[in-house]
């Protein structure tokens, strides 16, 4: 599996072959608070880089989930739809959101590595 990369919209992404797994970061969940609703893109649909690909709602507000890369949705994580609190518990592990078959792997180049993201998150939080 590839190195984990991060977007400015607080999504993480890993690549295995040409299939990317995408979720939201721990930092994002801390900003959102208790997550109580998740909506995921439909399997088989195509999503475009930086477009919306789902929604999460906390007790406070709704937030769009963006996809950091383009591709066809090949799998979604029904477990987090059934129990959205799992997203707070393990956001960067078992609570992934969806898997995409990527078209253009060069889209990953503009994303941040862990160190860059941590710095970005710290700055954007303050």
């Amino acid at each position: 599996m590839s190195e984990v990369k991060f977007s400015k919209e607080h999504e993480w992404i890993t690549l295995e072959g040409d299939v990317a797994t995408i979720g939201i970061t721990k930092h994002a969940t801390e900003m959102l608070g208790d997550i109580v609703f998740a909506e995921l893109p439909e399997k088989g649909s195509n999503v475009e880089k930086d477009g919306t690909a789902g929604v999460v709602e906390s007790t406070k507000a709704a937030s769009d989930v963006y996809t950091p890369v383009s591709g066809e949705v090949v799998d979604t994580n029904q477990a987090i739809v059934d129990d959205p609190s799992k997203i707070n518990e393990d956001p960067e592990g078992s609570a992934w959101f969806f898997k995409l078959k990527m078209k253009d792997q060069s889209e990953l180049d503009s994303l941040m590595n862990k160190e860059e993201y941590d710095k970005f998150a710290k700055e954007s939080a303050s």
């Binding site: 608070g33 109580v36 609703f37 709602e57 906390s58 007790t59």
Partner: protein
């Protein structure tokens, strides 16, 4: 304008509060445990809420004050016993609601608890209506602390002996730590609990004492989910100047004896609406599934006609599902009526339901 702070601000900070601006005040939305845990702790144990931003209006006077206030509020104040509280409204001539409030008859006159965002305007309106005959004091030197939940009576009684003898919607002055506190058995969560009016310089120590006895600080986030589960209105959401108490389904709060005779501001409109019915009415709404319908969500019938709008919607932690309140055309207001909620461009099924979503019994018969 500089943001205002309550006398508990430092205590909130040291308890890792996340702050928001609310009605010009820096208020805690939540602490480190988060809204759901704070909500559940209040339901099972005892939560402390800083509600010092709310207005505490003391009006001093005798029977002539009661007579004047009966021209304003739809209450039978002449027959209200000392130390008893009533929920009421300040209205305009069209029965539009300026504010909702709790009024308590005290020995010296009345104490009225007002919403933070409305209190200055309320003071102006009441001053104009009452003239200069009565001394009025919107007291900024007192904090207001709520303690809510099943363990609250035991915790508070260990600090202020005798509060366990109060019935729901009554209050009294108590002496504690060489000062006079006004305590009412009331609240905004659907739980048994109390609100304590205390001088600003004693508030922090008092709350630290409550924490020591096992109560925990709860933010405005959980206050909102708790009150919504209890089916209680929030001014600026369910209530505003374009809504009447009849439309808000709060006719229970209007004293029966006042309904027949009228004589209070807005009484004509209210009497008309009681007779002819209001065209829109506040209802409880339960979305199917897990979908949350927030404020301003449009409500439709199955012919694509808009029939109303959501005024508050969230996830109810004790209900363990989404809950909402809103206004619908009267013919859709019956319990179990199927409606549709438009969220992010799609229509989702929901049902009109009875309020509250969550119910416990208040303490009525202690004395």
């Amino acid at each position: 304008m500089e943001i205002k702070k309550t006398s508990l601000n430092k205590l909130h900070q040291s308890n890792n509060a996340k702050f928001v601006e609310f009605a010009g005040y820096e208020m805690p939305i939540q602490y480190s445990k988060g809204i759901i845990e704070e909500h559940k702790f209040t339901r099972s144990n005892s939560g402390i809420f800083d509600v010092s931003h709310m207005g505490q209006l003391f009006i001093y006077g005798d029977e002539s004050l009661t007579e004047e206030l009966e021209k304003i509020f739809p209450l039978d104040l002449k027959n209200l016993k000392q130390n008893c509280s009533k929920y009421s409204f300040l209205m305009n001539e069209d029965a539009g609601i300026y504010d909702d409030l709790i009024i308590t008859k005290i020995e010296e006159g009345y104490l009225i608890i007002l919403n933070a965002a409305c209190k200055d305007k309320d003071f102006e309106i009441l001053s104009n209506l009452l003239g200069s005959k009565f001394k009025m004091n919107l007291d900024n030197n007192r904090s207001l602390i709520a303690i809510q939940g099943p363990k609250s009576v035991e915790i508070l009684n260990s600090i202020i002996n005798g509060v366990d003898q109060l019935n729901f919607m009554t209050g009294n002055w108590f002496d504690s730590d060489n000062q006079k506190l006004f305590v009412t058995r009331s609240g905004y969560t659907g739980e048994d609990g109390f609100e304590i009016s205390i001088s600003n310089d004693k508030a922090e120590k008092f709350v630290e004492n409550l924490i020591e006895k096992g109560a925990q600080l709860i933010g405005l986030g959980a206050r909102d989910t708790l009150r919504l589960e209890a089916g209680l209105c929030l001014y600026g959401h369910e209530l505003d100047i374009n809504k009447t108490p009849v439309e808000a389904n709060l006719r229970w709060a209007i004293s029966k004896s006042r309904l027949s005779k009228g004589g209070f501001i807005g009484s004509k409109k209210i009497m008309n609406q009681m007779q002819d019915g209001a065209s829109q009415i506040r209802v409880g709404i339960k979305p199917e599934g897990r979908l949350i319908a927030r404020e301003k969500t449009k409500i439709f019938d199955d012919t694509d006609t808009q029939i109303g709008e959501i005024t508050s919607g969230t996830f109810g932690p004790s209900v363990n599902g989404p809950i909402a309140m809103g206004y619908v055309n009267k013919k859709f207001s019956k319990v179990d009526t199927k409606i549709l909620l438009e969220v992010r461009g799609k229509k989702h099924p929901a049902n009109v339901c009875a309020l509250p979503f969550y119910k416990k019994n208040y303490v009525k018969g202690v004395n």
